[in-house]
Symmetry: C2
Subunit: 463 residues, 2 copies
């Protein structure tokens, strides 16, 4: 008798019909009558469970009949074609061992629970249908990203999590320290003596690996990071988490056009991969989480993404006859309502907006010849808005130094970054994709807390 996984039973049913197998897993549902009963057994390998039929031929029939939800079982039995509705095969049990009878206080009895409630028991929620689907897709999506980049010759770079660099800029940071807060060392002037901290200076959690990964781009041509990033923003919204994962590719000798092609190819590849690998989960989301999800994803797969410059986009918005809360004018940062209009109503598909005014974009983006705009790109997608943000990088040493100074930043802090423009500067581009944002897009889940196994948000770092 061979051990089998529920996934194999579903994927290769015919090979198993008539065979005896050993299954192990957890009891999801039970219906017991006088002489026989049905158990839905889930073994974790697959979104669906398998039906186990047991009867009074089993010595411990009474004990089995009283087994509680989530009890762990080891089942021996024969795989047979099922007469019942809802499944094509089932297991006729010849032996059911209750490895451990679950405590009756198990919080996930068979009734509906709110997502809010389930967040309170984040260690148990992956056992529910919704979160089982979410977190299996999370795993498959993460792998799809690696697969895409690795098969295209990209080198994966682990950029540092603890950063001693002053130049990441973007947003509030978490401080990392081993100083004894009850007995802080001080300098003669009474300031905190950060020299005595673990790394000999102030350190923080990274907000982006981009500047680091650019240095590897100069050695490996095409590179990417995929790791956790942190923002100490005190925002309690459904779209903000303080710890999230980000993907940041960077390509050498590639301009903004190549960057957009890469982004389009990547988005299509990872969506297709998840749809191919997780059909049951996607179908579940389509039915219970976001009606029309599959159409939405197919629309992305089957269309060439649009391309429009910021200047053209402003014209479209100004002439569309629609009233926006935030008035449209060249120079403004596009608001969510503008982004959604462009992708949902005008283009009706994902669209890259390029060449933004330099004032509203980061210092490292390449200045266009017009002196007013930079080679930035944002990808806007129907139903979510911005999903990718990137640019061609400024590779001219003088222009870059000038921009750093104008921002009031210290050239010395950027020594290593400027070296790339001294020792064989090269056109290069890259972008950032928020992993959780992509997760929300693919699953239809609307709260970022529900796509992260153990989310970190203000005043909340359980587990």
């Amino acid at each position: 008798m061979e051990k089998a996984l529920v996934k194999s039973l579903y994927r290769n049913t015919e090979d198993f019909i008539g065979k005896e197998v050993i299954l192990s897993g957890w009891l999801k549902k039970i219906r017991a009558q006088k002489n026989f009963g049905f158990i839905e057994l889930n073994d974790g390998s697959f979104f669906k469970g398998v039906q186990v039929v047991f009867d009074t031929n089993l010595e411990n029939f009474e004990e089995i009949s009283k087994a509680s939800i989530s009890s762990s079982l080891i089942v021996k039995g024969k795989v047979v074609e099922s007469q019942g509705k809802g499944q094509t095969f089932e297991i006729q049990a010849t032996d059911v061992e209750i490895y451990q009878k679950a405590d009756l206080a198990y919080p996930l009895q068979n009734k509906r629970h709110t997502f809010e409630y389930l967040r309170e028991i984040a260690h148990l929620r992956p056992r529910t249908n919704t979160f089982n689907a979410v977190f299996r897709v999370r795993s498959v999506l993460a792998y799809a990203i690696h697969k895409f980049f690795q098969e295209n010759g990209f080198v994966y770079v682990h950029t540092p999590i603890i950063t001693g660099s002053d130049c990441e800029g973007a947003g509030e940071m978490f401080r990392v320290t081993t100083l004894d807060m009850n007995d802080l060392p001080r300098t003669d002037k009474g300031e905190i003596d950060t020299k005595q901290d673990f790394f000999g200076k102030e350190t923080n959690l990274t907000v982006s690996g981009q500047l680091n990964v650019e240095t590897y781009c100069a050695a490996f041509r095409n590179v990417y990071t995929f790791g956790p990033t942190f923002r100490a923003e005190n925002s309690n919204t459904s779209r903000h988490a303080n710890e999230f994962w980000m993907i940041e590719p960077e390509i050498a000798f590639g301009d903004l056009e190549a960057n957009m092609e890469l982004g389009e190819d990547m988005i299509k590849f990872i969506i297709k991969h998840v749809m191919d690998e997780c059909p049951e989960e996607i179908e579940f989301f389509n039915q219970f989480i976001e009606k029309g999800l599959i159409d939405k994803l197919n629309n992305v797969l089957n269309n060439e993404f649009g391309r429009v410059t910021y200047t053209e986009a402003i014209e479209i918005l100004e002439n569309c006859g629609k009233k926006f809360e935030f008035p449209v004018k060249w120079g403004i940062d596009l608001q969510s309502e503008h982004e959604r209009y462009l992708s949902e109503e005008h283009f009706k598909k994902p669209v890259f907006v390029t060449d933004y005014p330099k004032e509203i974009k980061a210092f490292y983006m390449k200045l266009n010849e017009d002196g007013k705009t930079v080679r930035a790109m944002d990808l806007l997608a129907p139903g979510i808005g911005e999903i990718i943000g990137g640019s061609q990088r400024e590779d001219n040493l003088e222009i870059l130094e000038d921009k750093i100074k104008k921002e009031g930043m210290d050239l010395e802090d950027y020594d290593f970054y400027l070296d790339l423009r001294k020792y064989g500067s090269f056109p290069h581009s890259g972008y950032g994709l928020g992993f959780e944002r992509m997760m929300m897009y693919i699953t239809g889940m609307t709260n970022i807390r529900d796509v992260i196994p153990f989310p970190r948000t203000p005043k909340n770092a359980q587990y």
Copy 2:
């Protein structure tokens, strides 16, 4: 004329012979004579560079002749069979554009540099042969790990980096805070008021995702983490870094035997994958970094790993006639000299040592029936010692509660962990693999600082 990558030229030379291509990359070496010259161009896609021949037919022959090391070039030319030694093909340039002439202060001129020196310029060192090989292998090894687990049906779980859990135990931790150190909030009693910190309590950087990932094991059966972990140990050795990546698989309904099988399969898979994908790099390490590396790796691939209990291992050591610095006696923690004797001299291959005395292992390891030993396993490998550490987990609620209390820890802190033993407890096992340790084993590099892109060590967090 089509853009080509150096890697393609090497892997599919015949397809390119006679064709015109556009290459872009960096000048690694140049030899110029009166009427012609040779450039070694590396484009980042491959460990090796390609030879470009240029001559006075090019308008800017003089300029090219004076191009400096690391200058970025865009080369057009014909792929031809090479007459010269050392390469089978070369490029006859029809056009060489110097995109940027590298500053002559470029620190990586063509001479040998010490690893110590190169650590000071971590942003440039991947451009050297050694570090180019190291960090391409790092990328391929990381992918091999994902590939192994994903193809075997494991679910990848992102366990949290910032942890609010008090129960990780192992070793000193880095504190994560947004409190203003110059103006710390205090309680009535004068203590630091951690309630006012960002997450409403004290938080730290994770030292292990194991306890978190066990909760997902109960939902997905076979799971793994692969992420950064942190130890605030003030150890300045060649084997310690404060930030490193760890792989932690966990299998449901799998005992210690299944755990060892998984470990052995994984080690063999990832070594083979790297040897297949990076033959040039492995050959380089074998020649210049660790003589005999390839034999060492083949020895791992071609042997079944040994299995021995701790008690048997102690007997072997007591009876081997060898003098050890640390005397051998049942109950001791095995020292490096003992581990190396076992794997290098006695077994001459990797060996699992199992069933250690409970006193020297963690509280969560499953107690054997003898009441003295636990179902732990360490994998010892020739040339490096311990490379994997794992165990079957205690799944009996009473025994686990008892052990937590005996350790003087607080049961409440382990609520979520104990829930796994209440609601369908199941036999399960797992282990931890230090990613950098595996990197050192596969490359032969002997300092952990040289296998991490931007290493974090005491008093050092550059970039």
